[in-house]
Structures are given as structure tokens and as C-alpha cells.
Subunit: 494 residues, 2 copies
Amino acid sequence: MSWNDLVAHLSEIEILDGVGATLGWDEQTYMPKKAAGLRGSQMALLSRLSHERRTDARIGRWLEALDDKDPVQRACARNLGRVYRREQRVPAALVDKLARARSEGFAAWIDAKAASDWQRFLPSLRTLRDLTLERVRAIDPKRHPYEVLLEEYDPGTTVESLRAMFARLRDGLVPLIDAIAKQKQLAAIDAVVPLEAQWKLSSAVAAALGFDFEGGRLDRAEHPFSTGQGEGDVRITAHLKPSDLLGGLGGTIHETGHALYEQGLPFSLAGTTVKEAASYGLHESQSRFWENYVGRSRPFAIFLARTAKDVLGSECPAALADPDAIFRAQNRVERSLIRTQADEVTYNLHVIVRFEIELAIFEGSLALEDVPAAWNEKYQSYLGVTPPDTARGALQDVHWSSGAFGYFPSYTLGNLYAASFGKTMETAIPSLWSDAEKGDFSRPLAWLREHVHARGHLLETPELVRDAVGERDHVEDLLGYLWTRVGSLYGVSR
Amino acid sequence: MSWNDLVAHLSEIEILDGVGATLGWDEQTYMPKKAAGLRGSQMALLSRLSHERRTDARIGRWLEALDDKDPVQRACARNLGRVYRREQRVPAALVDKLARARSEGFAAWIDAKAASDWQRFLPSLRTLRDLTLERVRAIDPKRHPYEVLLEEYDPGTTVESLRAMFARLRDGLVPLIDAIAKQKQLAAIDAVVPLEAQWKLSSAVAAALGFDFEGGRLDRAEHPFSTGQGEGDVRITAHLKPSDLLGGLGGTIHETGHALYEQGLPFSLAGTTVKEAASYGLHESQSRFWENYVGRSRPFAIFLARTAKDVLGSECPAALADPDAIFRAQNRVERSLIRTQADEVTYNLHVIVRFEIELAIFEGSLALEDVPAAWNEKYQSYLGVTPPDTARGALQDVHWSSGAFGYFPSYTLGNLYAASFGKTMETAIPSLWSDAEKGDFSRPLAWLREHVHARGHLLETPELVRDAVGERDHVEDLLGYLWTRVGSLYGVSR
């Protein structure tokens, strides 16, 4: 009986959160400007209703009554237990202080970034760091503080495994990027394509990858995002620019990857915590798999050139009708300062800089005032570039201003898992690339549905990935793939 | 203190209902097809949360503590008291039975209408009528049962006032329609105009009337509707057809009228029940004022012809560039069978037929099996047409299938009030029609803002209207206006 009550209770939370997600989508797409205040009140009420239910005292009793022999109930005990204990152990006063510090931190960051002045951000960052440490100690004083943070985004992943993987990845990427930098740069495609035509192309590609338009939508928004609101309602957005067709399309493919995961979740397990994605890193692996592993491949370039000719007709620029030109443009590598604009190869070094700095902060070996210097030194050492100012250095990302320490690793975890999924599929699906050339992506999608999507949060991510690909070295899979695909294009080898 | 608590409580209900309205809008505009089940769960949860708050036992105590000397609290006592007492007096078991009867009734009506067979609808209708009577007696056994029903839509309006007004209106309309029927028919405009261009025209007209696009939207939907979700968020939809520009535009103007009311409500009185529209009839008066009184006038036709030329350019058909052709087409009168397709003059007779039948049912003087015969007889007598089948007769409207008895009068009440608003403005605003020719509608909007919109539900509708227009004879205002405008076009006079 109590299991049914718990499922009903958790289902209600999921429905409330889905309503909030729908309003969040509306806010980014169609909401009238003057509705901002009203929407704020609506979101606040919904999150209060959800929070009340998440902290309902009955959850403790329901948790104790779960049947450990049932795999779904066992997973629920783990997933819900973790969240509930975290909520229980953090004093309400600290939650309030953190909420205030976050909103002050965001304002201070906006201000500091505009002035490119770390000092202006420092007091807020210090408060956020101190309160975060207090929270971490309340949750589990015995564990590595960074692992407690990490757990919010990537439960099941340890600091030690990250430290080892990221160090090897860094040491493998630096020589690849050095070698590429000595070669002739690949040509970009900067043709101007009308937005109406790009829109059709984006929709056609999302549909080809398997996005179900009867259970989802693709709309315009200022920033591309994907939002799963429940069964049959997964929406993605795109931000297209006339002179950056490949960039806009890449964004759509990325969000399509997230959306395919959301469309493939085990909806029959609603209200059990198992219907959810297993982690941020695993979610990111789905977007990266399609955006990079598939989307930057030569077979995909062949498919894309043909589709561009079909969809754009006379508006199709010559370069977009040429698979080789697309393939080269999709794999350009450039040392740069800004993470969000980085290419596939350098991207992970941007993340690793942040991971190393966050780790040092929470291990107490890096003072906050020294972050910009450490940042610049690492950028020079790993990427060969030094930010000319802090705005383009340690102040560039929003994450720390909202206290989201421990979030960055999920981006690179996604790339690591995606590489192993790709490697595994290349064996499991012999026609993978010949299908892709034809625009048939049904087999890799079916593989992901079976091994990732449909499993929801039954297992923690490292275990789920092991079940899917076996004992693989994700770092070697990613490095091997990058050296092979991108290295070859630049004429360099290991 | 308890007043503040009550306001906070009612504000929360308003916010929840606004969230529901946003989801309702999404359902009709952008929601993916497969999200229907999810949306059902979301709406059910929201309406449960709202219902729990509406029936909160504290409301009874809060009501008792209201300060009768404060006009807002006095209005709140009246508005909230009415709704709360209705909820309190109806047993939960009856509420459940009614809910079931409504959903069964809807299914039976769909079926009966498709088969044009009243007998198939009869058992469900009988159940709905019986349960409705039971509900009415529980609410107030001493009052006229139809007035108890009416009160849900048009509180403050009595059965006796309706009976008198509608009889006089009927007796005044029948000779007008008879006279018109003997004249040469006015020409319609059936030019085909591409939807993209119609869309621009609809937006331009809504903006000219004063619809605030920064606090609202206009979208495509299967049916035109208007929905106010709170301050800064009022959305309207249109359903346009290539060969019916004037029909589609009329729908947009109608919904714009509703939306202008919603955009002009006294938002500072949120949580007091006074921020709401005063009645369905008054709401309808706003849509009808703009759609008919303004939208079918000759000055508006001059404005529209000019705007059509501007917006449609070379796509503008000759008839739409001719104010006289527009004016005639907008005022065609035709005896017809279907209420929703009726013109402005005959429309009220369609409503009066339904009112007389509903009244007879609830006064016990008409058996349900005799409704189709009574219907056909009245159609022949008032409109000179007899439905060839029940689908185009007594089965045409959805209302009764959901137990919405007492709703129909609000349509004609809206026309009556609109006529008196128009008459009053013609005196109060000397430049009313010369402004309209120029596309300036700011003065009538300002008048409605002051006398209707900003007053919210401080007064009951009859009193609010009296305050706005003085002691006027609405029936005479409506008949006079129709004889003058439409009668003249057909060359007939009283």
C-alpha cells in the first residue's frame, strides 16, 4: 500500500514539475513581455507546491518500507533517499541564505563581468563558497566535499575517477591540439542562408534523427534548449543565424539528442524516480553523441549535403552541397578563449580548467583571489592562449554565480560516454555509417533506446554505461576517435 | 489580518487558475498531439488544487470578518459569499454525479447529433436536467430555479427582467427581419485572400483597436478564443480561411473585445474577487461592441478599406478596397438555422428560442421529449425557417450536453448592453465616428476602461451598466440601432 501511495505522491511532483517546465518553455518562446511578473508568481507558486511535496514527512516512512528485492523499489530507495536525505540534513536557514547568496551572486557577476573586475565578484563568490561548504558538511562531513557537489549532477561518479580520467584526457588532448595548430587551417562555411530555409533544414534533420514531432515541437528561442515535460511532450528550440547555418544546425542536433533521451524514457515507471534521466553527464552524452560523433562524421556530411540540396533548392550555397567542404568545416579546431564557442577538440580542455580550479577551491589549495591567475596559467599551458581580461577569463561562465559548483564535469563526461557509445555501436551495428549516409539513423537510436533511454534511472550512470559498452576506457575511446577523425583531416597522427 | 490572509489565499487561486489558462491556451495552439494524456493529468491536478482552496473551511470565517464599510470588502463578501455558499450547499455526491452526467452527456450528444436523433440524447439530458434541479434546490429552494442557474453566469440579472427584455426584443426583431426579407439581398464579399496577408490585417486591426501586443498575443487555433491569464498575459486566437476574410476578421475583432476587457481589469485588486469581469453578459458586451457596433459601422468600413489596401497591397481584392462594399457585406441579414453562423440581427432570435425553451423546461411546462417540436415551431414563428433535421435544430449546440443551462442569455445580454454603451458614447464622444474613420479608437476604449473594465466586479452588472449609461432602455437601444443601420441599408424603416 505505501508503495502505491509513494508512487502517487511522486507522480504528483512530476506533474507539477512538468507544468513548470511548460511555463518555462512558454517564457522562452511565446510569452508576452509584460507577463514577466505574473510568470514569476506562477513559477514561485509551482516550485513551492513541488517543494512542499518533496519534503513531506511521509517520505521518510515510505522510504523505510521499500522492498529491496524489487529492482525498481531498490532504485527508488537510492534515488529518492539521496535527495530526501540531502533536503533533510540542510537546515532551512542555510537554504534561505544560499538562495539569497545566489541571487546576489548573479547580480554581482553581471556587474563584475561587465567591468571585467574579479574583485567585484569576490565577496559574493566567497559567500557562495562558504555557504556551499557548510551545506556539504551538513550533508556528509566524511565525504570529499567536491563529491558531495558532484552527486547533485552525476550521482555515482567519484572524484578519484574524474581526477584520473580528466588528467589523462588533458595530457592526450594537448599534443593533438599542438599538432593541429602547426597545420594549415580547414575552411569554414560562412555562406548566408535565409532563415526560413534553415528552419526547414533543421526540422528535416531533427526528424531524420528520430525526433517525434507528434510528441514534441521545434520552436525559435533566444537560446537553444530542450525540455521534457512528460510523456508525449518534449520541446526543443533553436536560435538560427543567416551566416551560421552549421552552428545553428549543430545546436538543433545537440538539443535533438537531449530530446531523444527524454522521448525514450520509461514512462510506465512514472512516480518511481526511475522514469528520469540518470545524470547530467549521461544526458550530455546523448546530445554530444548526435551533435559530434554522428553530426561531424563524413557520412553525415554526405547526408546533409543531399538534404541541403533537397530542402534549400536554389538557395543552397555551393559549399553546403559539397560533403567534403561540410566535413572539413564541421571539424575545424581553433584555440580560443570562450568555452561556449569552442570546437569539439578544445572544448574538453575548457572544462578541465574549470574542474581543476573547482577541485582546488574545495580542497582548500586555491584561494579565491588567485582564481584568475590560475585560470590564465592553465589556459596558456593547455590551450596556448591567455585571456586579455577576466571577462574573457574566469568571469565568462554563469555557473559559479549561482553556486553551481560541480556542474562543469558533466559536459566532458558526456563526451567521454558518447565516445564509448560510438565505439561500441561501430561494432554492434555494421551498417552504422552506410545507413547514416542514407539518412537512416534508426539503428543507433534503437541501440540508445535499449541501452540508455529505456533504462531511466534504474542504475547509476557508471554502472549503466558499463552494462551498455562493457569495460571500456572512455578516455582512450575519445582520444582515439578525435585523433582518427580530426587528426586525419589535419594530416596529423599520434 | 484575516483580510490579508484571505487576499493571499484568493491570489493563490487566481495564480493557479492562470496557470491552467496558460496550459489551456497551449493545448489549443502549440501542444504536441501525443501530449493529450499528460495535459489531462496536469489540468486535473491544477483544478484539484484550485478546488481544494476554493472550498477551504477558513473561507467561511474570513467571510464573516469582512468589513461592510469598505467597498472592496463588501463586493468580496457578495462575490465570494455567493460562490462559497453554492459550493457548501451542494453535497459532494451530487457534484460527482453531475460531473459524470456531463461527461456522459457530451458523448451522448456527439452521438445523437451525428445520427440527428433526439431520442439518443434524451436519457442523458433527463439525467442532467434532474441533477441540475436537485442542485438548484440545494442552493436555494425558494428562488426561481432558472435564476439560480443564471446567477452562475450573470449574477444580478433576474428572470423577470430577462423575460420582459427578451419578449420585447423578439417582438421588435421579427418585423425588422420580415421587412428585410422582402428587400434585395446585399452582396457578400467572397474574394480569396492569402492567409499570410489576412494574418497581417488581423494583427493590424487588433492593434488599432488597442490590443496591447506587449501584454498579449494573437495565434492561430482551430477555434477563435480569448484567454486572460493575469496581468500582462491576455492571448487571443484566430481561425482564418482564404475565402472568408470578413468572417475571420470579425472573429478577431470579437476576441479583441474580450481581450481589451481582460487587459483593463483592476489588477491592483488581485485576490479580492473584484479584479474579475463582472459577468458573462458584460464580457460579451465588450466583444459585441467592437465586433458589431464598431466593426460593422460605415466609418470602420472606411478605415478597413484603407488598411486592407495598405496591408494587402497588390493582393487586396477590389471589393475590400471599397468601403461601401464592406459596409454592405458586414450587414447582410439572412434567415438561417445555425446560431453560430447567424448575422447580427437574427442572432438574438436564435438565443431567445433557447432561453424560452430552457425557461419552460425549468418551470416544468415543457417535457424534454417535446423540445425539438417546440424548437422547430419557434424557429418557424420567429425566423421563418424550419430545421430539416434535429442536428440542425435542437441538437446543434454543445451547451446542454454539459449541463450549461442558463448560459445562452449572456450572448444577447451582451448585445443589449453593447447597444446602450454605443448610444451613450455617441453623445459622450462627439468625434466617435470621425475618429473611427481615421483608425483612432482610443476614446471609446478609454470610455470602456473607465466605465466597465477598471470597475472589475465591484458592482453587479445591472448596477454597473446603470452607472455607465444611466437609466436606458437596452432593448430600444438595440432595436433602434439595428433599424437605423441595417434597416437603412436594406431600405426599410420602422
